[in-house]
């Protein structure tokens, strides 16, 4: 991603767009923050919001007619916020004079001719920026200065004029200028602003000023002042002041001015769930404290955050995609120092929900996946993030687990059952039952046991992914390019994109077409459906799973966030590996949102959400229940070691039963007699230490004799580093039998004594 790419991406996230009230206000008062502070009763800070933006806050806060109210989204839910009444209340509360500290003098001078609100506003804006102003007016404030008819309480205008004078505005009597005199003023001053509500411009013989700049054919002369509401007069003065500044700086007179006046904000605010509240009526002498707080409290605080509201990951990192894009960009471009966003990059579930919800189609998935690929390519991907998952993938694709065969007694396959490595890990018996059932109905049904490559894809390991896919492809070709029948939505999506020439279908459709098992008919259960995130853009697949469940008699309930709006279980994008705590938070959040008895059609969703506390079955738990388990919705989730064994055992079982081939001889470390305490099994699971890692360590210790002993307890410790991780095992040994109490690991390598 380059700077331009970052800008484009940032622009897709509208969270930092101003609320529509601020966009509509010609002076762009931050009404949202103002309302927050008013609701808190923090009048002085609220006043600070007004004084920061309004050129003559004492005057304009009392005269504002509230154009923001036309744009206020609250108007759809009870009525627009009465900002003018709130401004007036605020102005009355604050008795301290406005403190304005001008910026250091810039050595520039501007002459303002005319003292209407436009002229005064231009003078105020300029003088606050350190530009000297000489203002000619017969009566600064014009009709506002008329004692009898002024809409302002007495003293308000006077104190503003006094403040301007203190800031350095030099008030001088009005002068009538001819064109020649105007030209000489332009020589004397750096720019000239005319407020035409006081100063007659007819003698100057000029065309109407330019709408964008208020400029004229005389360079440096700007004509402000409009008829109408005071806010628009002030905005006109501000525009002239900005043009004068640009002129004096030699900057472009037109670039980037499209949002100077009122404009339409791109901010998206979802009003679903916002309850209507009627406005607080304004008594004749204005709001009292409670009324003001209540009216300000009706502000919706317009913001988008559509994605953040539905994503634990986006929420926990404390910001929103526009900010994340910048952090990830910085992470990518850093030369020296700490990459602060690695965890952000590796914690996205790549589930695609943000993009679906986002009005600007911002995709954290694309951003994070590309960032992961960059990290891998640059050699900066943290080793610990995905190594365990990739080892698991390689195990599933290795000689112990992978299998690609046509059905026994056949030479080629018309179909190929692809259960996926996680279903095989979670319910190997169901995979076996499904395969037997399928073969009965489709004799040319082969089987392929392996991983689809998703962990490599998700971790940004492009070459690992290519390798996994090319093996898969060549196995598929060797079986005669059969139609692939997937039992996992992730595999289905991965294979579809990797083998565009292959015919790929879901197991649910094939079962529906060729016959469901007799045992599964009339299940008569009421089930809440959880759609896996990899089925988000697969409406057919989602429907196939539902149709099949309904045809066996299940009554299905839907939750609010389902179908294309479904939420991830926490496994997606390898979140649970890179950031286990967040992974379990995501799982718990989703599990909590699913009430009653839940069903899904992804083995990983089933296991993650079960760990998150849901009563949840996989579709195959319903079609092919395990009689030995009983309550399938509560069946325990196998740990990492068991998952590996399940895959390996299934392969052995199939080879033995269907092809009458002996399995591989057991490995030496498998022959050790090892048992584990419950505490050891629990920490091993948390620390991603496999039973086979422990066995290898014990075998190494047995073969080398190297081990530590504790002088009091007699317990033993052994250590071994097979590849990139050093394992430690604390155990007891009796007559060649091992009992493991604890295990831990580290990646740091001991390079020997330094002495």
């Amino acid at each position: 991603m380059d700077q331009a790419g970052l800008r484009k991406l940032e622009a897709q996230c509208v969270q930092e767009e101003p609320p529509s009230c601020t966009a509509e206000c010609p002076l762009h008062v931050d009404a949202r923050t103002f309302c927050t502070l008013m609701n808190e009763g923090n009048w002085s800070k609220a006043w600070g919001i007004l004084t920061r933006t309004l050129p003559l806050p004492g005057v304009l806060s009392r005269l504002c007619h509230g154009p923001c109210m036309d744009a206020c989204l609250r108007s759809k839910k009870g009525g627009a916020i009465n900002l003018p009444a709130l401004e007036r209340f605020c102005a009355v509360q604050v008795t301290k004079p406005v403190r304005s500290i001008p910026m250091p003098a810039k050595g520039k001078r501007v002459c303002v001719l005319g003292g209407g609100l436009a002229g005064l506003s231009a003078a105020s804006d300029l003088v606050r920026k350190g530009i000297k102003v000489v203002l000619h007016s017969s009566k600064p404030g014009l009709e506002l200065a008329e004692a009898d008819s002024s809409p302002l309480p007495s003293g308000i205008l006077e104190s503003e004029l006094e403040r301007l004078a203190k800031l350095g505005v030099d008030f001088q009597p009005a002068i009538n200028v001819s064109r020649a005199e105007c030209e000489s003023l332009l020589e004397e001053f750096d720019a000239v602003v005319i407020d035409r509500t006081e100063q007659d411009i007819a003698p100057l013989n000029l065309d109407e000023p330019d709408a964008v700049t208020l400029g004229t054919s005389l360079p440096g002369l700007f004509i402000a002042g409009v008829e109408g509401e005071p806010i628009f007069q002030a905005a006109s003065g501000r525009k002239a002041a900005l043009s004068s500044e640009r002129f004096m700086q030699g900057a472009s007179m037109v670039a980037g001015r499209d949002r100077e006046g009122s404009y339409e904000s791109l901010l998206h605010t979802n009003l679903d769930g916002v309850a209507p509240v009627d406005p607080v009526a304004v008594p004749e002498d204005g709001y009292d404290v409670e009324q003001a707080k209540a009216e300000a409290g009706r502000c919706i605080h317009c913001e988008c955050l559509e994605c953040v509201k539905h994503c634990e990951y986006l929420e926990q990192f404390g910001s929103y995609p526009k900010v994340y894009a910048r952090q990830i960009y910085n992470n990518q471009t850093i030369v020296m120092g700490t990459r602060m966003a690695n965890s952000l990059i590796n914690s996205c579930t790549l589930c695609g929900l943000c993009e679906t919800l986002c009005p600007g189609d911002f995709s954290m998935e694309d951003l994070c996946l590309h960032a992961r690929r960059d990290l891998v390519e640059q050699g900066h991907m943290p080793q610990s993030a995905h190594e365990f998952a990739l080892r698991d993938m390689n195990f599933a694709n290795g000689p112990d687990c992978s299998l690609a065969r046509s059905a026994p007694g056949t030479k080629a396959s018309t179909h190929l059952f692809f259960p996926g490595c996680q279903l095989t890990a979670s319910r190997p018996d169901a995979v076996r039952s499904v395969y037997d059932h399928l073969r009965h109905n489709i004799p040319g049904m082969g089987i392929m046991l392996r991983c689809c490559g998703a962990p490599a894809e998700w971790s940004g390991q492009v070459s690992e992914y290519d390798r996994a896919i090319s093996e898969l492809r060549s196995q598929w070709e060797s079986l005669g390019q059969p139609e692939i029948v997937c039992a996992c939505p992730t595999c289905q999506g991965m294979i579809r994109s990797a083998l565009p020439g292959a015919s790929v279908s879901s197991l649910w459709q094939v079962l529906q077409d060729t016959g469901l098992p007799e045992s599964a008919k009339n299940v008569g259960m009421e089930l809440t459906v959880h759609d896996p995130c990899t089925a988000r853009h697969e409406p057919e697949l989602r429907q196939q799973a539902r149709t099949m469940l309904e045809s066996v008699g299940a009554q299905l309930n839907e939750v609010e966030m389902s179908g294309e709006l479904t939420e991830c279980c926490g496994f997606g994008g390898l979140l649970a590996e890179a950031n286990p705590k967040l992974g379990s938070d995501v799982a718990k959040r989703r599990a909590d949102a699913l009430s009653g008895e839940v069903v899904t059609y992804c083995a990983m969703c089933r296991d993650m959400l079960s760990k998150g506390g849901a009563r949840i079955s996989h579709v195959l738990d319903i079609l092919f229940p395990d009689a030995a388990v009983g309550d399938m919705a509560a069946r325990p989730v196998p740990g990492y070691s068991r998952r590996r064994e399940n895959r390996a055992h299934l392969r052995e079982e199939l080879l033995r039963d269907l092809w009458q081939e002996p399995g591989a001889p057991p490995k030496p470390y498998d022959e050790l007699a090892v048992s584990f305490s419950d505490a050891a099994l629990s920490v091993m699971e948390e620390r991603r230490i496999l039973e086979s890692d422990v066995r290898k360590t014990l075998l190494h210790s047995r073969d080398t004799g190297q081990r530590l002993v504790h002088k009091e307890t007699g317990r033993l410790r052994a250590t071994y580093r097979p590849v990139a991780v050093t394992y430690w095992v604390e155990f007891e040994e009796k007559d060649g039998e091992y009992f493991v109490h604890n295990a831990w690991c580290h990646r740091m390598r001991v390079a020997g004594g330094a002495a």
Binding site: N342, Q383, H746, M748, A754
Partner: protein, 71 residues
């Protein structure tokens, strides 16, 4: 290079079973991600085994590993 001493690096009653040696605090080199430190660890001078306790491995060592991975 200075030797880092950490309280987690205590022999705590462990000795080398094979060599019958006490583990003595000894500067040991540790390496990760092209970084090298010298840490004083309980060490068998005879066979060269260094004890890395659970507290050290899952505490400070893990923290440093993560820091280095983000460098």
């Amino acid at each position: 290079m200075s030797v880092i001493r950490v309280p987690e690096a205590d022999a705590g009653g462990w000795s080398c079973d094979r060599c019958g040696e006490e583990l003595k605090p000894t500067p040991v080199n540790l390496e990760y991600m092209d970084s090298r430190f010298t840490v004083e660890l309980p060490f068998c001078a005879k066979c060269g085994i260094a004890l890395i306790s659970e507290e050290l491995a899952m505490g400070k060592m893990l923290e440093v590993e993560k820091l280095l991975e983000d460098k």
